[in-house]
């Protein structure tokens, strides 16, 4: 009975378990109990997402849906569900949060309880945004994510944290508020076309046949908000600051999941809502993505600070995701590139998350991240060296790691649509190898230049508990991509197909006012 109830409310439970546990964690008087409570909550949330993974039926569209009226007079609902595009990202968020809590277990500094509670709050926000199929609920979650992240960077961050966190939240808020204006316009457009208010995303998809002229500004506003979040060059300037100043945990979650919100938003909203404008904009976005790839790689190469290097590598990797999402061939999105983009999102979350963890491991021991302060660590820290090399290889996309699969699929799809972009992007792969291997070399190999490095502790059991699953994932995603992609493929194909159908057949809008009776789902009858 209980299990049945859990099964039928699984999406809601997954979203709100962390929030509830966060409240309990804050109220809990004992730090020890609070920590275990937080971990148990995150673990429960992970198990819930595993449940969704297990019962997810590939190819049958939106699943685990739940809908309640929220503001019925305005057509705003609480509507959540899961499809192939969000499934992997949900798994990644719940999984990473568990690891993060373990990683921050012996936390130096004050307010650990609050820190754990904020992490769980953040998890709720991210899961809400990933599962929301109501535009207003999505926007609420999208903004809610900012608040805990703001405090995580601002309270527990490095020396320049206040500047970094303010820049982070203002940049994102500018983008999102413009997106809000566009979302409201879209909502009113729907009312004008169909006579009822609705913020249901599935309803709003029906507006995709509108002429490009009326969608132009709406697409721009949505794309801007997502581009800032991704961050796409030239909107990336908040990212290096936020990443560098954030505590390790914050960087991991930022790189691991929050940046994907931008690319996820692109796939979920910007492309299917405004296919016509997207077609015109795809080359622009691709070019910006390629600039991001090369620029991020070049800047990363020159960084003396390991964390900044990883931060800029994120700009470069996310560029790949954008290029993959924008590979348009004969007015069709290439399903290969799209699959690669989705896969690369997960892969980047795992490998870059792991890299940030590893840099954090170094920082905990030496309180510096400058590459020149290290060297020859392979001898005192052999396990660390193994893990760093696995993460690096995953990040540069060596065959046998997840990075290879993602980048290969993206380049394959892109080459068919635009060889020039693909060639330039593969230059980014090359540069990626250059700077990541530089990082590895400077930290791990050569003589030990600093005396204090000779006696550094290797990774502890707790750290190993965090890093080992990530290392396994990096390799598993490379050798068994089918395991991850089989559930995702149908949704991606569906996105690519509906998009091409729109382009090829010019789906006509149903006649005005056919939905006046109040039906909000489909006008087929």
């Amino acid at each position: 009975m209980l299990l049945l109830w859990i099964h039928s409310h699984i999406a809601t439970l997954t979203i709100f378990t962390p929030l509830l546990v966060a409240a309990l964690v804050v109220l809990c008087p004992s730090l020890w109990v609070a920590k275990w409570l937080a971990l148990l909550g995150a673990g429960a949330c992970f198990l819930e997402s595993v449940h969704m993974w297990h019962y997810f039926v590939p190819g049958s569209g939106l699943q685990f849906t739940e809908m309640h009226a929220w503001l019925p007079q305005w057509g705003i609902q609480y509507f959540v569900g899961v499809d192939g595009i969000s499934l992997l990202l949900i798994m990644l968020s719940t999984f990473l949060t568990c690891l993060l809590l373990i990683g921050a277990w012996n936390f130096e500094g004050k307010g650990q309880k609050t820190f754990f509670a904020l992490l769980l709050f953040l998890e709720s926000g991210m899961l809400g945004a990933l599962m929301a199929f109501d535009l207003v609920f999505f926007y609420v979650c999208w903004e809610v994510m900012l608040i805990p992240m703001y405090f995580i960077i601002g309270v527990w961050g490095g020396k320049n944290r206040i500047y970094a966190t303010t820049k982070f939240i203002l940049y994102t808020a500018f983008g999102s508020l413009l997106m809000l204006v566009a979302a409201i316009s879209l909502y009113l457009l729907y009312k004008k076309e169909f006579g009822v208010y609705s913020t249901n995303v599935l309803d709003l998809y029906r507006l995709s046949g509108l002429p490009a002229a009326s969608q132009f500004w709406l697409f721009c506003a949505f794309a801007l908000a997502f581009a800032i979040k991704i961050p796409l060059w030239p909107f990336h300037t908040w990212l290096p600051h936020a990443h560098t100043e954030a505590p390790t945990t914050g960087s991991v979650i930022l790189a691991g999941v929050m940046l994907k919100m931008g690319t996820y938003g692109l796939l979920r909203f910007a492309i299917p809502l405004f296919p016509a404008v997207f077609l015109d904009f795809a080359p622009v976005l691709s070019v910006l993505g390629v600039i991001g790839i090369i620029y991020g790689a070049l800047v990363a190469w020159q960084q003396p600070d390991a964390k900044k290097m990883v931060a800029y590598s994120s700009v470069s990797h996310l560029g790949f995701v954008v290029v993959g999402s924008c590979a348009v061939l004969h007015s069709m999105i290439s399903p290969e590139a799209l699959t690669g983009a989705v896969y690369q999102m997960i892969n980047h979350g795992v490998s870059t998350g792991m890299l940030f963890f590893l840099v954090g491991v170094l920082y905990d021991r030496r309180h510096t991240r400058l590459l020149d302060d290290f060297g020859g660590l392979a001898r005192p820290m052999p396990w660390f060296a193994v893990l760093l090399i696995i993460a690096t290889l995953g990040s540069v996309g060596l065959p046998g790691t997840g990075g290879f699969v993602g980048e290969f699929l993206i380049l394959l799809g892109t080459f068919q649509s635009n060889p020039a972009i693909a060639i330039l992007a593969s230059l980014g792969v090359l540069l990626g190898a250059v700077y990541m291997l530089t990082l590895c070399r400077k930290i791990l190999f050569g003589p030990v230049t600093h005396k204090e490095n000779e006696s550094l502790q290797d990774v502890s059991w707790r750290e190993a508990l965090v890093l080992a699953p990530l290392a396994v994932l990096v390799i598993a995603m490379g050798v068994q991509p089918g395991f991850f992609l089989d559930r995702v493929r149908p949704s991606i194909d569906h996105l690519a197909k509906t998009y091409s159908e729109y382009r090829l057949e010019r789906v006509e809008l149903p006649p005005l006012g056919c939905c006046k009776g109040g039906c909000s789902n489909g006008c087929e009858e």
């Binding site: 307010g111 903004e143 309270v155 203002l170 413009l178 204006v181 409201i184």
Partner: protein
Amino acid sequence: MYTLAPIPAAFYGVASPVLILSVGSILAMLLSVAGKWNRPTINFGFLFLILGLSLAAIMKNGPQIHTFFEGAFQWGVLPYVGSLLIVAVAGVLALLFYPSYLQARFFTGEVIALYLLSLLGMVVQLSSNDFITILIGIELSAMGVYALVGYVDVNRLSLEGAVKYLVLGSVATAIFIFGVALLYLSTGELSLQAVGHPATGPMQVWKQTGMFMVLLGLGFKLALVPFHSWAPDVYEGAPSGITAFMATCVKIAILLLLFRVCGFFLLAQPEWSRLFLYLSVFSIVIGNWLALVQSGLKRMLAYSSIAHSGYMVMLLSVAPQATMLSTALFYLVAYSVATIVVFGVMMWLEEKNCRNLHLDDIAGLGRKYPLASLALTVGLLSLAGMPPTVGFLAKFLVFVHTLQGERFGLVIVAALGSAVSLYYYLRVLVRMYMHEPDPISLLAPRFSWLTTGVVGTGVVLVLALTIFS
């Protein structure tokens, strides 16, 4: 037209809120000379007796429409909701005064009389359809507030604020009266509907001028840019509780009156909505911009409240629609609850320090008083319009309403304005959570059940109204 007619018996029932408030204020004046009976506790009880009775009377009236004396007194939906909101908010603010350092100053007979008189004025100005009665209401409430600003806590700043408010407020009233006179000249009527009636021939000019002056006077009272220059000084000079009273009750009354007048006026002359477009753009841009550079908390909140008036006036920049009033009321409720939370925390912090808070005073507050800081955070985020607070929903509805009138530029300005506003609200959070506490800056306030209850309820409302509205 104005002959003494016999007073119908039903009038006493419908006008009971007004009558209770006026009798209450007269009795309160008597209390001030009652010698040993003039004690804070007794005055506190008396004030809540009167407020409770008037609330009960308002609720008993309900939203039905009753008209007396050819519209000089008219009850209806707007007076009902408006008075309910105003009296309730005033009661909550008085609760916050009880634990504050001004307890002995506020709960005296004369101050309570002033408080009740200004409430009376607000109820009167909402429950009338006649410009003369409205004028009396406006003046009554303004007179009360002028005195409250300078009298509750007497110091240089508060006196300066009171004088500024008095002078500029009187100018505003004068402009308003002049406008009403011109309206009377051109249409021959004093009822609110008259502004919707067409004037003919040369009178057209006078009617437009009159209307312009009426709106100007109300804009002055609301501190819309460019008539805002008094607001920061007055808000800063007044004791925090009175500042909150001005930012909530006075603003609610004037705004609802403005909406009422414009409800008639914009229907007749929709092209005037452009005036409100400019007023709201200026208020949002300049209010938010100047708030960025303030280091005193109350000055910052003064500018932010100017910007909030701008957001509300956005509703008038489009042709009147059915949802205008409900959206405005929702925004007012959301804004008032958040303001009460913010000012509740501020008044609590000021208790032992007896002065205005500076940004530096709240450094490290998050560690010293986590719950108070949490409340302040929720209140400020709601004012900034961040989800999941009710401030977001209010702003969302205002944007929806304005976009329905296709004022895209205005909404974009407002959206960017609220992104900018995030910066100065966040500055407070930065001080609270990300700076080290300064041990000597702030004396530790006493715990107070009343403040905790009020602020706690406010925080719950800020979060719950989003979900269950």
